[in-house]
């Protein structure tokens, strides 16, 4: 796959756009295994592209693979397999999307498919102003659907000061019909518990170490679930019943670690 356009979102986050029918058809929340020759392979949520026929990934540079992908310029080649996993189920009515960091990426794709929602709230969390992205895009993707976009930064340099969870209660009071979340696991854990305790259906896209992406290697296990095939999107009730969610994950060796 050839990268056709690169967008700098923040100093550490880029969106890479490319033409591919298969990825363009991915459902929101599905992911792909993205190979950066020489650098590695990693799971990436399929991101929305504004251009028809295009798909995208939004990547933050962290380790070798993500940095390799981040550094892939226009014209660069990547290998993509998938899409894999379960997607968000888009429900009707009023929707609340809560995302942190690159976890916004599947939510953006979901937003681009929420045309029949009655109202959409998007809650975006970041550490600081420079790391805020997708605010403008969220507005464009929401299009005609009545929407509100709220940004929080931990240092208060942009939007409201604090964490997304601080804003959450108020927005849940407005009784959304469905909550969708993706981001750091402690954040998702809080969102899932808060929504579920009020009886509001919630879905979260979970992250684990992935090697195969297709349910062979077991590296992505979370309790008895395999995040790659049973998820990455899970229903909130299911997650609450899974004692490993929000608590432990397995590193690359399979050693159990705290989230």
């Amino acid at each position: 796959m050839e990268i056709e356009r690169v967008i700098d979102e923040t100093p550490t986050v880029r969106t890479l756009l490319f033409q591919d029918d298969i990825m363009e058809g991915a459902l929101p929340g599905q992911f792909a295994m993205v190979w950066v020759p020489g650098a590695g392979e990693l799971p990436m949520s399929v991101m929305a592209a504004e251009e028809p026929g295009m798909a995208a990934f939004t990547v933050r540079r962290r380790g070798a693979a993500s940095t390799g992908l981040y550094d892939t310029a226009k014209g660069g080649l990547i290998g993509v397999r998938g899409p894999y996993g379960r997607a968000f189920e888009a429900t009707q009515g009023r929707a609340l999307l809560v995302g942190g960091g690159t976890g916004m990426s599947p939510l953006m794709r979901l937003l681009s498919r929420l045309g029949s929602a009655s109202h959409v709230d998007v809650l975006i969390g970041a550490q600081t102003e420079k790391e805020v992205f997708f605010e403008g895009l969220a507005g464009r993707l929401a299009g005609d659907v009545p929407h509100r976009i709220v940004v929080t930064t931990e240092d208060g340099s942009y939007g409201r000061q604090g964490r997304v969870t601080d804003e959450l209660e108020g927005m849940l009071d407005e009784k959304p019909d469905a909550v969708y979340t993706c981001g750091p696991e402690p954040m998702m854990h809080a969102v899932v518990r808060a929504a579920d305790s009020r009886g509001i259906p919630v879905q979260a896209s979970v992250e684990r170490v992935m090697k195969c992406g297709v349910g062979i290697c077991g590296s992505c296990c979370m309790g008895e679930d395999l995040v790659c095939t049973d998820g990455a999107v899970f229903d909130g009730k299911h997650l609450i019943a899974n004692s490993e969610f929000g608590s432990v994950f397995r590193d690359k060796s399979g050693t159990v670690r705290n989230v």
Binding site: E41, A65, G79, C212, T229, K252, S253, G254
Partner: protein, 281 residues
């Protein structure tokens, strides 16, 4: 039986696999220390249901795993890798109360100093299996594959040293190159081929082993349906492991069980034993 390295690092997942109908599970091959394994890509499809993997024996280490299995009473075969008899002995000792059997991995085709590189040295194989037998109070299996020493010799050394069963076969050393990237797909270059493509090779190995030695053979390689499982048994396998085919399809164990039962009924077999090696008679 679930093959080693497939879904094999968590007790919760083992329970799910057993619930789906597997008679036993084999753990990911464990080493004395935790191993990270190779970096991604570690697995790639090769067409026709085949997979090429070089996970690099990533595992949390024997101690951590022994802690997980302890007292759970699961029918778990603990797979072990190492380079010297003492390593195996020390790992086996960690598993008092937790292992239903041990499987010595003599055949991983893509990690240096362990697996196939051990299997290729029949003398060492004999020492390891003898030592493991002395240390273990449960059965010890030896898992062989296609290496630079003929697997028949490796299996022979293991059998002579007292192995309770031979598992055949592991993945077959192989490679895929991406023509656009002009590089091997796997980060390690070489990997092991598994899935339906290797089934006819595995069936042949099971047949050859069962014909040559008196020790029970556990068939592994490309089994993805009840017919494949029966094929292994007819060749001489008294038990069958399912690896790649369980990927994304844990229900396969129940399907295979049901298929075998139906086949036995239609053909008037009273027990699995009657089928083992039948095609060789």
């Amino acid at each position: 039986m679930l093959a080693s390295g497939i879904l094999g690092i968590s007790v919760d997942v083992f329970r799910r696999v057993l619930g789906a109908g597997a008679g036993a599970v084999v753990t990911k091959s464990l080493s004395r220390e935790p191993w990270e394994g190779y970096s991604n890509p570690t697995i790639t499809g090769t067409g026709g249901g085949g997979w090429l993997n070089a996970v690099g024996l990533s595992n949390p280490g024997a101690s951590a795993f022994a802690g997980m299995l302890k007292g759970q009473g699961l029918p778990a075969v603990v797979s072990l890798v190492g380079s010297a008899p003492a390593e195996f002995v020390s790992m086996i000792k960690e598993f008092r109360d937790g292992a239903a059997a041990f499987e010595i991995n003599l055949s991983c085709p893509h990690v240096a100093k362990v697996g196939l590189e051990v299997g290729d040295d029949p003398g060492l194989v004999g020492e390891i299996v003898s030592a493991a037998k002395r240390a273990a109070d449960v059965p010890v299996f030896a898992k062989v594959g296609l290496g630079s020493t003929h697997y028949i010799k490796t299996a022979g050394a293991a059998a002579e040293a007292g192995a309770d069963a031979i598992t055949a076969i592991n993945t077959v050393r192989a490679m895929s190159i991406d023509v656009e990237a002009k590089k091997p797909v796997l980060s390690n270059g070489f990997g092991g081929l598994s899935g339906p493509p290797i089934r006819p090779i595995a069936v042949r190995c099971v047949w050859e082993l069962a014909s040559k030695y008196d020790v029970p053979v556990i068939g592994c390689g490309g089994v993805s349906s009840w017919e494949d499982a029966i094929e292994m048994m007819l060749a001489g396998a008294c038990a069958v492991q399912v690896g790649s085919a369980a990927g994304g399809r844990i229900g396969i164990f129940g399907e295979i069980n049901a298929g075998i039962l139906g086949y036995m009924e239609r053909n008037g077999f009273g027990s699995v034993k009657e089928m083992v090696g039948l095609a060789r008679t």
